[in-house]
């Protein structure tokens, strides 16, 4: 395929995304059990916690993806991943307060 072909229309996946447990596990290529562990550890949260079927929004999908990468690439266990994500969020907050400087 050459770059002269008409551009493929890209859509922002996270906007309005609400994946079921099954779809999220398929998308991230991990077992549903693993996603449930992420929820139990508080790494990700379903849109409506009490709903009959869990749905996951864009931000949570992103968090799950990062969590799985950290687990796999750095050999961190789940509580470690949860801690890392919280610290990263804090770091982002600080950076924002410092005018975007690291």
């Amino acid at each position: 395929m050459s770059s002269h072909d008409p551009a493929l229309p890209g859509e922002i996946f996270e906007e309005g995304a609400a994946l079921s447990l099954r779809d999220l596990s398929r998308m991230l290529a991990v077992e549903e059990r693993h996603i449930i562990e992420l929820v139990e550890e508080g790494v990700i949260t379903a849109l409506e916690v009490d709903a009959a079927e869990w749905r996951f929004g864009g931000t949570e999908i992103r968090r799950a993806r990062v969590a799985l990468r950290l687990e796999r690439d750095l050999g961190v266990n789940l509580p470690g991943v949860a801690l890392a994500l919280e610290l990263l969020e804090e770091l982002r907050q600080l950076r924002r307060e410092r005018g975007g400087r690291a």
């Binding site: 996946f13 906007e15 990468r69 796999r72 924002r96 975007g100």
Partner: protein
């Protein structure tokens, strides 16, 4: 091709033990992991370290690599020896560092081939969706527009081995996409097995550093130098913004680090981000007698101890 000194990449001695190599890898992986690191070349370094670990962690690959010796001197061209590969059999080791390290160097591929079984979503039965990561320029999200990306797609050849194929895609980048978000291209994943429809392609987006603006989520930051009198007295100054230069009003009694917000002028996501101007005070040089006299006059007119808060 360029010779890669994997021991140097990992910062270990040539006789390092397996445990030392693993320790070095973990340390470097934490430092350069693209999800964690703010180092400008994190992604490239993480790949390099992943590749080095892929070779040094495997007794077979390491022994083969060691036979090359220390390699040619810097700048010299490297070619694998003609008898390369004889007497070694490489078991298809799993991915060392996963999808983010999907690209091996030319050097690695010349020695070990385009390794099998990397990218965990591809070696599972239901891996119909493909995933990739790209670095976008900021302009792409500010104004939309199409960009061409070259992705490496794993394919299974006639002998059942996994090979990487290069594929160039021209993609209409959705305006307002944020760092960490994903572009979904419906039907651009793997071809269907038999019936059904093709999988989707998900491209995770990060941004290249911009020469002027710092990108923080949906907000953009600019350091704007102002003269001391502009900050003290207030002024209207010209400032660049993503939408073109604007006249910005600096309030009187501003100081270094003052943040001015231009609402809704960040990344055009929904809701749109803001544009922040962070003031920096730039001092004119006391270059001639007239300027020196002006500084002395200011010192007399407005006695000022900038170190008062330090107690001296």
């Amino acid at each position: 091709m360029e010779f890669k000194d994997y021991y140097k990449v990992m910062g270990v001695a040539r006789d390092a033990t397996e445990a030392q190599i693993k320790q070095a890898y973990r340390k470097l992986a934490r430092k350069y992991h693209p999800d964690v690191s703010k180092e400008p070349d994190a992604e490239a370094r993480f790949k390099e370290v992943g590749e080095a670990y892929e070779v040094l962690r495997s007794a077979e690959k390491r022994a083969a690599y060691d036979r090359l010796g220390a390699g040619p001197r810097a700048g010299e061209d490297f070619r694998p020896p003609p008898d390369w590969g004889s007497g070694f059999e490489f078991s298809g080791a799993g991915p060392g560092a996963g999808e983010t390290s999907a690209d091996y160097s030319e050097f690695f591929e010349a020695l070990f081939g385009r390794g099998g079984g990397r990218g965990r979503q591809f070696d599972r039965g239901h891996g119909e969706d493909h995933h990739a990561r790209i670095l976008l320029d900021l302009d792409a999200t500010l104004s939309g527009g199409s960009r061409a990306f070259t992705l490496r797609v794993p394919e299974i050849d006639a002998e059942g081995r996994i090979r990487a194929r290069e594929r160039t895609l021209n993609v209409q980048v959705p305006k307002g996409i944020l760092p960490g978000q994903t572009i979904r291209l419906a039907g651009q994943g793997a071809a269907p097995h038999g019936g059904g429809h093709a999988g989707d392609l998900y491209i995770e987006v990060e941004f290249q550093p911009h020469p002027l603006y710092r990108i923080e989520g949906r907000d953009l930051y600019l350091d704007l130098p102002v003269a001391p009198w502009e900050a003290a007295l207030g002024a209207t100054v010209k400032t660049p913004t993503p939408g073109g230069p604007v006249e910005l009003k600096i309030p009187a009694a501003s100081h270094a680090g003052s943040k001015l917000r231009l609402k809704g002028r960040g990344i055009p996501s929904s809701p749109p981000g803001d544009f922040y101007v962070v003031l920096q005070i730039a001092l004119p040089a006391a270059a001639d007698e007239k300027a020196k006299a002006a500084y002395r006059a200011l010192a007399e007119a407005a006695p000022f101890n900038p170190r008062a808060s330090l107690g001296v």
